[in-house]
Structures are given as C-alpha cells and as structure tokens.
Amino acid sequence: MTELIANLAHGFLVSFSSINLLLCLVGALVGTLIGVLPGIGPIATIAMLLPITFGLPPVGALIMLAGIYYGAQYGGSTTAILVNIPGESSSVVTTLDGFQMARQGRAGPALAIAAIGSFFAGCVSTVLVAALGVPLTAVALKFGPAEYFSLMVLGLIFAVVLAKGSVPKAVTMVLLGLLLSMVGSDLETGAARMSFDVPELTDGIGFVNVAMGVFGFAEILRNLESPEHRDIVQQKVTGLMPTRADLIEAAPAIGRGTVLGSILGILPGGGAVIASFAAYTFEKRIAKDPSRFGRGAIEGVASPESANNAAAQTSFIPLLTLGIPPNAVMALMVGAMTIHGIVPGPQVMTKQPDLFWGMVTSMWTGNLMLLIINLPLVGVWVRLLRVPYRHLFPAILIFCCIGVYSINNAPFDVAVTGIFALFGYWLVKHDFEPAPMLLGLILGPMLEENLRRAMLIARGDPTVFIDYTNHKISLGLLVVAATLLVLAVLPTIRKRREEVFIE
C-alpha cells in the first residue's frame, strides 16, 4: 500500500510539472475538438493527431496522446447527447437516453452527469491501473514465448467474441490482419515477404495507414451516402448542474458502470465500446421500470459514460504491463511509443518509472481537465456541430492526409490509406467488422515472433503450448480461448450476444 502511494506520488510529480499539465490540457482540448465532429472516433482522432506529438519528449508525448484519447471519447459523448449522432461507437448507447434528455431541455444535466461519471470512473481506474501494474508486471516477467503466444491468441479470440456480427467472419478478419502484418521484411531472415517487388512495401503496411483508411476515410464514405440530417438541440444549453435528485439517481449507476467498465477494459479485445454497451444493457435489466430507458433516463447516460471511461483507462493495463495492446486504440499507442523509441512491455515500469507512473497519474489529471474545460465549452461544441458536413469532411480529409504523410514523409503511405479506405467501405458493405483486423495487424509480428521462438525452443514440438508440466499458464490461456470460441458459436449464447449488440 505504501509502495502504491509512493509510486503515485512519484507519478504526480511528473504529471504535475507545468509542461506536462499543459500538454495534457492541450491534448484533452484538441481531442475533444476533433472527437466532437460526428463520425470521427478515437482511432481516427489519435491517428490524425499523432504527428503533433512527434517533436515532444516521450513522456510528454504519451501524456498528450492519452489526453487526446479521453478528449475524443468525451467529445463523442457530447455529440451523442446534443445531436443524436454518436461521435464514435462507444457513445452509441449514450444517444439513446442522452438525446432524449437534451430534447426535454436537460442537455446540461446530461452533459454534466456524463462528465461527472467519467471523472469518477477515471479516479477509480487510475488507482486500479496503479495497483495492478506492479503484480501484473511481475507475472509478465515470468512469461516465455509460448505464454506470450497463447496470451495473444486469447486476445484475438476475445476480439472475435466481442465483435458484433458472425463469429466466422470475425475470425477471417483476424486472419486477414495477421496476413497483412506479414507483408514486408521477415523479422529473422530479412527476406521480403509478399511485397510484390514494391520497395515501399518491404517496410510493411503501416498500422496507422490501415487504421486511418478503414476507420477514418471509410467512415467519410459512409457518411456521404446518407443525406445529411442533423437534429441539433435548438434551445440554449442552460442549467448545467444536475439536481440533487439527478445525482442520487445517477450515483449507483456510475458505480456499476465503473466496475463493469474497469473489468471489460482489461480484457483483451474489449475496451470502451463493449463496456458502454454492456453497462447500458445491465442498467436496463436491473431497473425497476425498464420502460424509462430510451426516454431520458439519467442512469442510461451515467452508467455507459462511466463504463467507457473506466474501460478506456484500464485498457492501458495490458499495454503497460504485458506490452500487448488489447484494442485498436492501444495498438495506436504502441505505434506512438515505438516512434519515441519505447518498447512497451514489463520493462517499461522498471526502466522508465517516470514514463510509467507519469502516464498513470496523467490519466487522473486528464479527467479532471475534461471536467473543468468541457462544461464551459459546450457552447463552442454546439457551434462546431452546426458546420455542415460538406465543409467538414474535406477538412477532416486533409488533416488525415497531412497527418499520415508526416509520419514518414512518404506519399506512398497516403496512397495506401486511400486503398484501405475503399477496402474499409467494402468491408462495411459486406458486414465485416474491421476492428479484429486491426488487432490482428498489430499483434501479427509479436504473435509470429513468439510462435517461432516457442517452436524453436521446443525443438519443433507444437504441443509446447499445451504442455501441462512446463507451460501451465499457456495451457490455461488456450483453454479459456477455446472455451470462449465454443461458447460464442453455441446457438443460445449467440442469441444473447446479438441481443446485446442490438440494444
């Protein structure tokens, strides 16, 4: 316990330095600014803003990126409440009750309760990240290649199970991502693989390019299809503060959302989206009068908003301790860390305590800033939302193009992004979920490396992964993965799963 406090104190020293506070503030502000725009989720926001952190020292850059992430998430909720358009997928459920509240003239309390819920969840999950950091790192240091491989398989299976749509289709997406990750030079021999003699392809297909194409640009293509319809709350947002009754009603929901979100965030493949869905469904199920939901129930805003923020933060746990990104946003964080020369994994905490604890504590400061800056700025966001989409999307597009270009100063990267935009559009048309593909793409190199190493150490014996005597952990992880997969395809569970996604 004292160690925990000492660590947190160390972290706060780092994150409270004026420069880091400023970076966190700027990140949260810019993140919200972009996140508010309809149709831009955290993935596109982070990918777009990644270049602005290049010139910063690593700690500052990551603190800023984390701020951007929370900002984007909160911006999405603002859009959901005010316009009935989810700014991103984790705030889909917030539109259900949030927009109804706004219609009833209670946009202020809805926004406030979302912010308060997020802040509370942020406080709890910051402590959770700090508390779980040390023991999990200790576990991670015992992991060998076989365990790492099995853990990643489990992560990918989680991504499959938690993706919406059919299980076999999600598995094909993971495999496609793995295949894409193998384009380029082989890690061990340096041989060019599947690069069709294109020199640019020997460096591999950049994760940011794929993410930007599939999530950013394909989304623009989708939005252009449907005629513009925005139902902005017309009346001025007044009376921000929720009443006592609101707070009493929302408080338990915030607590439940936080717990649920924290758990789902740690699970690989989970993250903010699934957390908010699950929290909403749960609230509805335990409510005395479920019919209130969808008509402006404050719990319907409080719980999913707390859950998605808690999950957003606890999903840093697998990344910071095991070095494995549990979802696409964290995969982008890996990209950012690599650019700054940091290899994510258990060694970060011991070798770069400033970075580790600074980042953990900056989660708390970031949330505090969101609480402070967002409520007064609601008017600005509303004005931003009045900008017609026909002016908005060229701006988004050019920022993305310049962002992608500036990572390597490579026009080729921009062209790749264009191709993946078309591919992402195609995926949507055929009901394929792109998130598992991205996870496959980012985990691919690690997965292959550990697979090859494990096989080599075991002298080519593939049973090493399920060896009870020497690799209990690996066996356990694979058993869990197999069980999950079987459960997901079983008809009864499948029905329940579809229900959750339909809510």
């Binding site: 295949l179 299809e225 597009l397 270009y405 026009p411 055929h430 697979l451």
Partner: protein, 175 residues
C-alpha cells in the same frame, strides 16, 4: 449505427418475410457469399505471393511458413463464410455509391501525387477541392472560399505551429 443494429434485428427475426422467396436460388446471403469468395481470393493471392519463400528448415520456421499457414486457414474460413452465404438467408447486397468514393479516394491519391512535387499549399488546395466535389450539394464558389481558408490554416498549422518540416511551394517557385 443504431439504425444498422435495428435493421439487422429485423433481418434476424423475420428473414423469410423481408427477403424474397429463395426457392431455387443458390446464393441466399449475397453479402456473406461474395465476402467469403473475395477472402478466398485474397488468401490465394497471399499463397501465390509467398510461394517463393523458403518454408520449414528442420525444426525452425522459415519466412514463408507463417504466411502460408495463415493464408491457408483464411482460405478455409473464407470458404466457410461463402458456403454459409448459400445456406442462410440474408440481406441483399447494398448499393455502392459512385460519386463519393471516386472523389474522396481520388483526392487522397491527388494528395499523394502532388505533395512532393507541388508542396503543401497547392497540394492541399487541390486535394480539398477534389474532396469537396464528393457531395452533389457542393457549390463551387462557396467551396473555393472554404478550401482556400482551410489551405491557409494547414499552411500555418503544420509547418509553423506543429513544427513539421514540409515543403510549402514547388521547387520552381522558390526564389
């Protein structure tokens, strides 16, 4: 997204009502079928592209082992998805928009092609104008003003505020 969900629910609950009778038709879920077929094709390309890479060397994986392994599994599962598309009912293929994708992707390619030779200012403006043409409700003069303003914003933001080294103008315009 919400609409998508509810639509899918309708599909799941009453496919027989929504979809036309499928008496003799082979492809009952064209989205899954063509999706699966395309994935098989992609897997085939991957298998072909990695066919020249050395495979297992004794107990060690060669560079070609993993790609071929994953491509094979992808082919099998893609085939499975396609077969499922023949056995279950599903929604018809969605229509593809033409204008949006052509102009949006065209503008991305235009940026890629012009950023090096023409510099940030010209390239941004060209990209923005092409992109703006992606909606039918675009008005030329209005868009030109907006795009010019955005170009100016980009030209200030990226090189000066964010300090990213970028060429602003084409070489032949330098003095």
């Amino acid at each position: 997204m919400r609409q998508e969900g509810s639509k899918r629910m309708a599909d799941g609950v009453e496919p027989a009502v929504n979809a036309p009778p499928h008496g003799g038709r082979l492809i009952r879920n064209p989205r899954d079928f063509w999706g699966g077929v395309t994935l098989v094709a992609i897997a085939a390309v991957a298998l072909w592209a990695s066919s020249d890479l050395p495979g297992m060397r004794g107990i060690a994986f060669g560079p070609g082992t993993a790609p071929r392994l994953f491509a094979t599994v992808l082919a099998v599962l893609g085939g499975l998805v396609a077969v499922q598309g023949c056995l279950t009912n599903g929604p018809a293929l969605e229509r593809y928009a033409i204008r949006g994708p052509i102009f949006v992707v065209g503008s991305i390619f235009a940026f890629a092609a012009t950023i090096r030779p023409l510099g940030l200012v010209i390239s941004s403006f060209v990209t923005l104008m092409i992109a703006a043409a992606a909606t039918p409700d675009m008005r030329w003069r209005e868009s030109a003003v907006v795009c010019a303003a955005l170009t100016a914003f980009c030209a200030l933001l990226f090189p000066y505020v964010l300090n990213l080294p970028m060429q602003m103008w084409p070489n032949w315009l330098r003095f």
